[in-house]
Point group: C2
Chain length 145, copies 2
DNA sequence: TATGCACCCTGTAGCAACTACAGGGTCAAG
DNA sequence: CTTGACCCTGTAGTTGCTACAGGGTGCATA
């Protein structure tokens, strides 16, 4: 009673995934290999659709492939306590928070560089100046060659 | 009057860069190839030290290798207007802001998942539920196999 | 002088997570 | 029966390094 099987292109469209990515997921055993048609085409069932949707969603949320693999494994063990799931999500959240902090620090630095730009020549450019090593400790390199 | 030339390991220490990374930068023509000693060791001058420090700082600020290449090229054209420098920094800032926004959205989602975790079994896990495709549109997969 | 040992050399392969071919085969429409 | 859209496998490219393997160099010490 397999209702409607999907070719790889259909699955790709249904999940906004590239065909190559689906084959890649199969190669790394993230998505199980589907049946094949007489012409050797992959033929996906609703189970695959569900599984790939799960993967995509988790990937969109920034979980690594390994984390997704763990989450998938856990999601199949429905009677186990969900502490492990919680732990993965929590670990990921910590990572995300760290990245946000780092990027915000970065933004402040870039903001400050840009606000100081006097639109003169490169020689006076505060951005280049800021990137240059210990600007006050040396003369301008190549200043008179 | 070359004051003090550095072996690759010294340069690595001075810039908190791995030796392999320095050789990699040379291979991709980001850092110019230095002189060699009689024994074929790389011998770096203060110019290299300055250039690598610039590269590291820019990389720490999240500029891509190509952006760093552009910034380096511009920093050598000291009499040109610094608009191009400004443009690179501005473009990068836009990217950084976008990443921050994305990550904050992500954090909100993860926060909400975690706050709903009832510490029951995987079957009731809100995190898994949230990742699962259109949860209301289907029964539990594998629910009775 | 021999012998460690730390350092250096080249070249290549690996990491994540895809993406993009090349060089074919399949299938339905016209 | 040909055209075109799709599919197949396999391999190489992407970014920015990092990690070997299998050697050579240079200096101190026994």
């Amino acid at each position: 009673m397999a209702r409607k099987n999907l070719a790889i292109g259909d699955l790709a469209k249904a999940t906004s995934t590239k065909v190559e990515t689906i084959r890649y997921y199969e190669r790394i055993s993230l998505l199980p290999a589907p049946e094949r048609t007489a012409g050797n085409y992959r033929s996906y069932s609703a189970v695959h659709l569900g599984r790939l949707s799960f993967i995509r969603r988790a990937r969109d949320l920034g979980f690594s492939i390994d984390q997704v693999r763990d989450l998938l494994g856990l999601s199949d063990q429905r009677d186990r306590p969900c502490e492990a799931v919680d732990a993965i999500a929590r670990e990921h959240l910590t990572e995300v928070k760290r990245k946000i902090r780092d990027l915000q620090a970065l933004r402040r630095e870039l903001d400050s560089f840009l606000s100081q730009c006097s639109r003169g020549t490169v020689a006076e450019c505060q951005i280049i100046e800021a990137l240059s090593p210990s600007a006050t400790l040396r003369g301008h390199p190549h200043s008179r060659d």
